[in-house]
C-alpha cells in the first residue's frame, strides 16, 4: 500500500475516538528514529565475534612469509634434511604454520558470512521493532489492515536486502558441515604428525592440508551434502550394532589386535587391498556392514576403485585396520590367519 499525502490512512478510520494521530505523521516522527537508533548504534557489538588482540591480516601476512613457500620449494628444503629429527621438525613446523594460517583465513571467511547474515537479521529486527511499536500505537479497526499492508512492504524490502534465503537457512547448515569436515581432516593430520616422516612424509601432509582447505569451502560442503544423501540411505538400511562377548575383551586378544594394527601400518603399498580382497578369515556381518557404510554403500568385494593402487593405499589400510579392530572373532585361529596373511606380504 502506498502512503500518499492525499490518500494517507487515518488511524482508527473516520470513527476513531480520542486524540490518535495518523500513521503517516507517526512514521515521520522522531519517535521512529529513536526506536531504530539503538539498533544502528549497536551494529559493531552485534557482529558476534570478539576483537582479536592481533589483526588477522597482520598475522596472516607473517605466516604467509614464513610458511608459504611454493610446495615444490618446501619439499626441496625438506629433502635436504638428512636426519629424521630434522625432517620431522621441519615437517611439523610447516604444517602447524600452515594450519594456523588456514584457520585464520577460515575465521575471516566465517566472519564475512556472518556479517552478511547480521545485516539481513538487523533489517528484519528493525522492521519487527517498527511494526511492534506501530502496533502498540495504532488502535482501531483499520489498524490491522494498514499494518498488514505495511508489513507486506517491509517484507518486500527484506527480500530485496536478503537477495535469497541463502544466508538465512542454508548457510548456517553449511557452516556447521564445514566445521565438522575440517575437524575430521584436522584429526587425520594430527594423527599423521604423531608418526615419523617415513609413514607420514611432508608430501602427504601437504596433500592433507589441501583437503583441509577444501573441507572448509562451500563447494566442498555442498559435495558432501549430495554424497551424504546416499550415505544416509545406507545407514537407514543397516543397523550397525553388535553384542560383544567376554572373550572379545580378553587381555591377550586385545594385545593381539594391537599388534595386528601395527603390522597393518607396516604393510607395503598395495598389500592391504590384496588382503582385503581375499581375507584369510571370515569377516562377520557386523564388520561387513560397517565397512560397507564406510565405502559409501559399496561392498568390499567391489571396492577396487576405492581401495586398489598405491594412491588408495592409505584408505585400504584404514579399512583393513577397521576390520581387524571390529571383527568379532578374536580366537587364536582367526588372529593367526590375519597375522600370517600380513606377515607373508611384508618386505
Amino acid at each position: 500500500m502506498r502512503l500518499t499525502r492525499d490518500k494517507r490512512p487515518r488511524l482508527g478510520g473516520t470513527h476513531a475516538q480520542g486524540t490518535n494521530g495518523n500513521l503517516w505523521d507517526w512514521l515521520k516522527s522522531p519517535g521512529l528514529f529513536l526506536l531504530i537508533l539503538p539498533l544502528l548504534a549497536g551494529c559493531n557489538s552485534i557482529e558476534g565475534f570478539p576483537d582479536r588482540p592481533e589483526k588477522e591480516s597482520t598475522a596472516l601476512e607473517s605466516l604467509r612469509e614464513k610458511y608459504f613457500l611454493p610446495a615444490i620449494d618446501v619439499l626441496d628444503v625438506y629433502e635436504t634434511k638428512a636426519e629424521e629429527a630434522e625432517k620431522r621438525n621441519y615437517r611439523d613446523k610447516v604444517i602447524h604454520g600452515r594450519l594456523l594460517a588456514l584457520d585464520l583465513q577460515y575465521a575471516i571467511f566465517k566472519k564475512a558470512i556472518y556479517k552478511e547474515k547480521t545485516i539481513s537479521d538487523m533489517s528484519h529486527s528493525i522492521s519487527g521493532v517498527v511494526l511492534g511499536a506501530a502496533g502498540a500505537v495504532v488502535p482501531g479497526a483499520d489498524a490491522s489492515r494498514i499494518l498488514s499492508a505495511l508489513s507486506g512492504g517491509l517484507a518486500g524490502s527484506q527480500t530485496a536486502i536478503n537477495k535469497t534465503l541463502f544466508y538465512e537457512r542454508t548457510m548456517p547448515a553449511l557452516l556447521a558441515l564445514m566445521d565438522a569436515q575440517r575437524d575430521t581432516v584436522r584429526a587425520e593430520i594430527m594423527k599423521g604428525l604423531a608418526q615419523d616422516t617415513s609413514r607420514y612424509p611432508l608430501g602427504s601432509a601437504l596433500s592433507d592440508l589441501e583437503r583441509y582447505l577444501q573441507a572448509g569451502s562451500i563447494p566442498g560442503a555442498l559435495a558432501t551434502v549430495t554424497a551424504t544423501a546416499g550415505e544416509k540411505s545406507v545407514k537407514a538400511e543397516t543397523q550397525l550394532e553388535t553384542i560383544r562377548t567376554k572373550e572379545f575383551v580378553d587381555t591377550k586378544a586385545q594385545r593381539d589386535v594391537d599388534e595386528m594394527l601395527d603390522m597393518a601400518d607396516s604393510l607395503p603399498a598395495g598389500a592391504a587391498w590384496d588382503i582385503l580382497e581375499k581375507p584369510p578369515a571370515e569377516i562377520d556381518a557386523f564388520t561387513s556392514m560397517a565397512v560397507r557404510g564406510r565405502l559409501g554403500g559399496k561392498d568390499l568385494r567391489n571396492a577396487q576403485d576405492l581401495l586398489s593402487g598405491e594412491a588408495k593405499d592409505k584408505d585400504a589400510k584404514a579399512i583393513l585396520k577397521m576390520v581387524l579392530a571390529l571383527t568379532g572373532d578374536r580366537s587364536p585361529e582367526s588372529i593367526s590367519a590375519w597375522k600370517a596373511a600380513m606377515q607373508s606380504r611384508m618386505k
Partner: protein, 57 residues
C-alpha cells in the same frame, strides 16, 4: 552433516573399564574419528565409534 558412520557395540556386564579404554584405543589406532563408551561394570557398556566415509571428508 559430515560423511561419517557410527558403529555401536554392547559389552557384557563384568567388563572392566580398563578393558573398555583399551577398546577405545584400538579403534582410534584403527583410524576412527572418535570413540567413547557409556555404562558401568555392573550393567555393561555401550561403545559408540565414528568413522569417516572413504573418499569423502
Amino acid at each position: 552433516m559430515p560423511a561419517t558412520i557410527d558403529t555401536k557395540e554392547l559389552f557384557p556386564p563384568g567388563t572392566t573399564e580398563s578393558r573398555m579404554k583399551k577398546e577405545v584405543d584400538l579403534r582410534m589406532k584403527a583410524c576412527a574419528i572418535r570413540s567413547h563408551y557409556t555404562g558401568d561394570k555392573t550393567n555393561g557398556w555401550v561403545l559408540v565409534t565414528t568413522w569417516n566415509v572413504i573418499g569423502q571428508q
